[in-house]
Symmetry: C2
Subunit: 193 residues, 2 copies
Amino acid sequence: MNIDLILQHVSRYIQLNKNEAELFISLLKQKTIPRKGFLLRQGDICKTENFIIRGCLRTYSIDENGVEHIVMFGIEDWWVGDLYSFLSQSPASYFIDALEETELLQISKPHLDELYEKVPKFERFFRVLFQNAFITQQNRINQNLSFTAEQRYLEFIHKYPQLELRIPQKQIAAYLGITPVFLSMLRKKFALK
Amino acid sequence: MNIDLILQHVSRYIQLNKNEAELFISLLKQKTIPRKGFLLRQGDICKTENFIIRGCLRTYSIDENGVEHIVMFGIEDWWVGDLYSFLSQSPASYFIDALEETELLQISKPHLDELYEKVPKFERFFRVLFQNAFITQQNRINQNLSFTAEQRYLEFIHKYPQLELRIPQKQIAAYLGITPVFLSMLRKKFALK
DNA sequence: CGTCTATTTGAATGTACTCAAAAGCGGTGG
DNA sequence: CCACCGCTTTTGAGTACATTCAAATAGACG
């Protein structure tokens, strides 16, 4: 079980002694999701928060016209899940599926509560994580308000150059909030320059 | 100094004993901002996180064409600030000003760090706060991707009926990401039905 | 009461979408 | 290993949603 990655990840924010690290690890469960496999469907209860060791997931909704809208991509070193569903144990708003075969470490709500209880440092760990996520999301909201589709696309490939190579164009369009057709037109325009 | 509101707010998530509450309060500074007054300008360093006791603030950016885009409104019981600027003590991306005369309780970065140190429960407090803010923002991102301007407007007045009455239409347009002119057209359409 | 700002209205324009069809690409089975 | 099938991307034409510009009207505040 590939534990090093998550211990390294945690150690960027808090220091664990041996006992604490062992407890933490004992609360995790490994899972592998094949390409195109689902981690969560709209309407399910989200039972776990999920740390990605390897692979790529997308969190998305499907609107009344059947169009997919991606609220986030997850790759190595990221946590994914439907947080509201997880916390309230109510039906999920989002689908989560794999764009590549993906290896996860999962923690259930009871286990996470136990972890907060026994190792309160994890309050800080997740406080910092959510803090950062808040900043990232606020940025994205601001950019969605301020920028045209063209600017948002350029910003995306500038900020996530790795992702652009791994992910079909169609998915990038669903993240930017435009149609694949329109994204194709934008790219053609750039190619001419 | 009106402290009850913030103590009540904190007690929704963590329990403080008398000493802890006194320490917390001792780290806060009160401030009043007049209508149209600024709490923060783009380029300033954001020195404090700010809890709103009374009034209404807006956090916004101004794009290259001089157009304002509102990333959030803040009213009673909310925290506002430019979080990235606050944490890194680097120049702010956002302006924050008052739509109404607003009363704040402010905590500086050194004081907040001291608070985390001396009363670690506050790690949990802010962890939960950021958790909730994350969910709210993710929702907004999803709605910006999924909905037309018309749907977003209806959603807004449904979700924040109090705000709609307190805030000029122009500001709502800047929050929804549309022009005031177009919002006016939408409203006319509804009035006819 | 007068000034300044917000809102409304109308016309012309632009950005992004829909629909339809063709071309490209990748995975799978024969 | 090649051929085929399904999915993604491209291309083009027509359309819809939202913007810009300009001017008139309404409302708020000193």
